[in-house]
C-alpha cells in the first residue's frame, strides 16, 4: 500500500481511538476536569504520567540529538530520568498528603501568602509556555513530513489539532486517553529499534545491540565502528566528551530538578489514593519512561550509522564513494519538501559530500578529494527519529506507526501542559484571586480561553524556535528548576522558611535564569534580539543557557535562606502544618487563617 495512504490510516485510527475515549469519559464537573477524582491505580497512573511526560522532545527530538551529540547527550537521558528519584523521595508523598489540586495552592497555603501563590503561578506559566513551544516544533516536524508540506504549515495544522484535543476533555479524559497513547507511542518507538538492531548487530534487543559487535562480518563493536566512521569524516568521536564537565553536571542537575518542579507532572501525584501510592507511582512512571529512554541511545547511534553509510556509501575520498544526488532515496526527497533537510552541490559533481568542514585538520584532505565544503547544509536533528525507519529501509507500516507515535507523544504532553496553564489561570488567578464566587461554568470557559491563548503564543514562537525541540524543552526545565523546585522542597524540609524568603527566592531564581536565557537566545525568544552570540566563549564559566537552571536554583536557595534569617519565622500553625505533611498518618489540619 502507498505510504502516504497508510500513514493517514494509522494516524487516523489512533486519533479516532483517543478522541473516542475522551468523549466517552467526558469531564462533567470542574473537579474531574482537573484531577480525575482520586481513584487512579498507581500502575495506570504511572503509565499515564509516562505518556504525559514523554513529549515530542523525548520521542521525536532526543534520539536525534543523541545521534549528533553522541556521549554528551547522556545529560538528557540521565537528567530526564533522575528527576523522578527526587520527585519520589522529596516531593510526591508530601504533596499528596497535603492534598490540594495545584502546586500554587500548596505554595499559597504553606507560605500563608497570596503573593507567594501569584509568584508561583507566574513561574508555572513561564515554564509551561516555554515547554509548549518545544512541543509545537515537534508537532510541526511530524505534520510537515506526513502531510508533505512545509514545516510552518505543519505547525499551524498542529496548533489546530492540539487545541481541539485539549479542549475536549479534562484530566479524566486525558488519563484514560494517555494510557492508550502510551501504548501507541512505546510500540511505535521500540518496533523500528528492534528491526534496526537486528539488522545491524543480529541482536533484537536495542539496549544490548548498542553494546554488541556489527553483524557485517567485521567483528567490530558497533560503537567503535561508529567512532571510526565519523572521525574519518572530520567529526568528533561519537563516544568522546565534547562539552566541559561542569556544563554537563549542571545541565543534568537542571533537568533533574526541573522534572521535579514541573506542574503537569506533580499534578499527577495529587490523583493517587494514598501517600504510599504516590511513592510507587513515581517508580511506575519511571519504569514506563525507562523503556523508551534506554532504547533511545541505540536509536540515536544506529540512525547516525545508517545516515552516514547512506551518504558516504563507499570509501572516503574515492571518486564513487558518495551518494549520487539524482539517485537519492525517497526519504531524502520527502524531507527536502519540509525544508528541514537541505542539499547544495558546492563542487558540482552531482554527488553528496557530508563531512565536518569546520575541522581544520580534515580540510586539507577534503580539498585533495575535490570536496568544496559540506553539502548537507541543513540536517535538522528533529527529523532523525521519523526518518530512521525509512533510512533503514523498513516496511511502510512501521514508518506509518512512527508518525502516529510521534504525534501521540506531542499531543499528550501539549494537552497536559495546556491543562496546567489553564488551571493556573482559571483556578489560581481568577477563582483564587479575582472573583472567588465564579460559577463552575464560567471557570471552565476561562480555562478554555486561556488554553487558546497559550496555543497561539506557543505556535507563533514554535515557528522560529530557539533550538531543537529537546533543547527548548530543556530551557523550560531550567525555568522550573530555578523557581518552583526550591520553594516546594524548602516548604517541606525547612520548617522555618517563611513567606518573604520563598517569594524572594522564587523571583531571584526565575529572573536570573530567564535573563541568562534571553541574553543568549533573544528577548522573549525573538530572533535577532540576543545580547551576545550563543557560543561557549561568551557563556559565564562555560555554562550553557540550558544548564543555567541549576545555578538559578542555587541562587534561589541562597536568597531564600538569607531572607528567612532576617525576617520573622512563620506562625506556629504553619509549623504544625509542615509537621503534619511529613507523616503519612492522619489528615492535614486546615491551615487557613484568612
Amino acid at each position: 500500500m502507498d505510504l502516504k495512504l497508510l500513514t493517514f490510516l494509522v494516524v487516523g485510527a489512533t486519533f479516532a481511538l483517543y478522541i473516542g475515549i475522551a468523549i466517552w469519559s467526558k469531564a462533567s464537573s470542574t473537579k474531574e476536569f482537573y484531577v480525575a477524582g482520586t481513584g487512579v491505580h498507581p500502575i495506570a497512573n504511572g503509565m499515564a504520567t509516562a505518556a504525559d511526560w514523554m513529549s515530542a522532545a523525548s520521542f521525536i527530538s532526543m534520539a536525534g540529538l543523541i545521534a549528533f551529540l553522541g556521549y554528551d547527550a547522556s545529560v538528557y537521558l540521565m537528567g530526564w530520568t533522575g528527576g523522578y528519584v527526587l520527585l519520589a523521595l522529596l516531593l510526591a508523598p508530601y504533596l499528596r498528603k497535603f492534598g490540594k489540586f495545584t502546586v500554587s495552592e500548596f505554595i499559597g497555603e504553606r507560605y500563608y501568602s497570596k503573593a507567594a501563590r501569584m509568584v508561583a503561578v507566574l513561574c508555572l506559566i513561564v515554564a509551561s509556555i516555554t515547554y509548549v513551544i518545544g512541543q509545537m516544533k515537534g508537532v510541526g516536524v511530524a505534520f510537515g513530513r506526513f502531510l508533505e508540506v512545509d514545516f510552518h504549515t505543519g505547525v499551524v495544522v498542529g496548533m489546530a489539532i492540539v487545541f481541539v484535543y485539549a479542549v475536549l476533555g479534562g484530566m479524566k479524559g486525558i488519563t484514560y486517553t494517555q494510557i492508550a497513547q502510551y501504548c501507541v507511542l512505546i510500540f511505535a518507538y521500540t518496533v523500528p529499534a528492534i528491526f534496526i538492531a537486528l539488522n545491524l548487530t543480529g541482536n533484537p534487543i536495542p539496549q544490548l545491540g548498542l553494546g554488541s559487535n556489527m553483524a557485517d562480518g567485521s567483528g567490530m563493536a558497533l560503537l567503535d565502528k561508529l567512532d571510526m566512521i565519523v572521525t574519518d569524516l572530520g567529526f568528533a568521536a561519537y563516544t568522546a566528551q565534547k562539552w566541559s564537565t561542569l556544563n554537563m553536571v549542571l545541565l543534568t542537575l537542571s533537568l533533574m530538578i526541573g522534572t521535579a518542579g514541573l506542574p503537569h507532572v506533580i499534578m499527577r501525584f495529587f490523583t493517587v489514593p494514598r501517600v504510599a501510592d504516590a511513592r510507587t507511582s513515581a517508580g511506575w512512571a519511571l519504569v514506563f519512561i525507562a523503556i523508551l529512554y534506554t532504547t533511545a541511545p541505540a536509536v540515536g547511534a544506529m540512525a547516525r550509522l545508517n545516515l552516514m553509510n547512506t551518504i558516504q556509501s563507499g570509501p572516503v575520498g574515492a571518486a564513487d564513494g558518495n551518494l549520487v544526488y539524482a539517485d537519492r532515496p525517497t526519504w531524502f526527497k520527502n524531507w527536502e519538501t519540509t525544508g528541514l533537510l537541505q542539499f547544495e552541490d558546492k563542487n558540482g559533481d552531482g554527488r553528496v559530500q557530508y563531512y565536518n568542514d569546520k575541522d581544520e585538520a580534515f580540510a586539507a584532505k577534503a580539498a585533495s578529494f575535490g570536496w568544496n565544503g559540506n553539502e548537507m547544509v541543513k540536517v535538522d536533528r528533529d527529523i532523525m527519529v521519523l526518518a530512521n525507519p525509512e533510512i533503514a529501509g523498513l516496511p511502510n507500516w512501521v514508518i506509518a506507526l512512527v508518525a502516529a507515535g510521534g504525534l501521540a507523544a506531542a499531543l499528550s504532553t501539549a494537552a497536559g501542559l495546556l491543562l496546567a496553564i489553564s488551571t493556573a489561570v482559571s483556578h489560581d488567578v481568577i477563582k483564587g484571586m479575582i472573583s472567588p464566587d465564579i460559577s463552575e461554568k464560567k471557570e471552565l470557559l476561562a480555562s478554555r480561553l486561556s488554553m487558546a491563548g497559550a496555543i497561539l503564543v506557543a505556535g507563533y514562537l514554535g515557528m522560529n524556535p530557539p533550538g531543537f525541540a529537546a533543547q527548548v524543552v530543556a530551557l523550560a526545565f531550567g525555568l522550573a528548576a530555578s523557581s518552583i523546585f526550591p520553594a516546594l522542597m524548602m516548604g517541606i524540609f525547612n520548617k522555618n522558611m517563611d513567606d518573604k524568603g520563598a517569594i524572594v527566592g522564587m523571583l531571584v531564581g526565575l529572573f536570573s535564569t530567564l535573563i541568562y536565557i534571553f541574553w543568549f537566545k533573544g528577548w522573549f525568544f525573538v530572533p535577532g534580539t540576543e545580547m551576545a552570540a550563543n557560543t561557549p566563549d561568551n557563556w559565564f564559566m562555560g555554562i550553557s543557557p540550558e544548564a543555567f537552571g541549576a545555578v538559578g536554583a542555587m541562587l534561589n536557595f541562597l536568597a531564600a535562606y538569607v531572607v528567612s534569617k532576617v525576617t520573622p519565622p512563620p506562625p506556629e500553625h504553619i509549623q504544625h502544618l509542615v509537621e503534619d505533611i511529613r507523616v503519612p498518618m492522619g489528615a492535614v489540619k486546615a491551615a487557613r487563617d484568612h
Binding site: M248, L253, V275, V583
Partner: protein, 86 residues
C-alpha cells in the same frame, strides 16, 4: 514516647534513608556517568565502555530500583514508628 518525639524520630529516620538513596543517585549518574567517565571507559563490558554504559544505560536502571527500594523501606519505617496510613 510521646507522639511528638515519635514523629521527630520518624522524620530523622526518613532523612537518613533519603540521604542514603540520594548518595547512590549521585554516584551512578554524576560520578560514574560524567566525572569519572574517562577512567571507567577503560573497562569494557561488551562493546560499551563502562562510563558510557552508566551514562546511557546503567544510571537509569538504578534510578528505577532506587525508587522502589525507598518506597519499600519507608513503608517499613512507617510501620515501626506507627505513623502509617489507616
Amino acid at each position: 514516647m510521646s507522639e511528638q518525639t515519635q514523629r521527630q524520630a520518624y522524620w530523622k529516620a526518613n532523612l537518613k534513608l533519603v540521604a542514603f538513596c540520594l548518595s547512590i543517585w549521585f554516584v551512578v549518574s554524576y560520578l560514574f556517568g560524567i566525572i569519572l567517565v574517562d577512567q571507567l571507559n577503560a573497562i569494557k563490558i561488551g562493546g560499551y565502555g563502562l562510563g558510557f554504559w552508566f551514562a546511557q544505560q546503567g544510571s537509569m536502571y538504578i534510578f528505577v530500583i532506587l525508587i522502589f527500594f525507598y518506597a519499600n523501606r519507608i513503608g517499613k519505617i512507617d510501620q515501626k514508628f506507627n505513623v502509617h496510613e489507616d
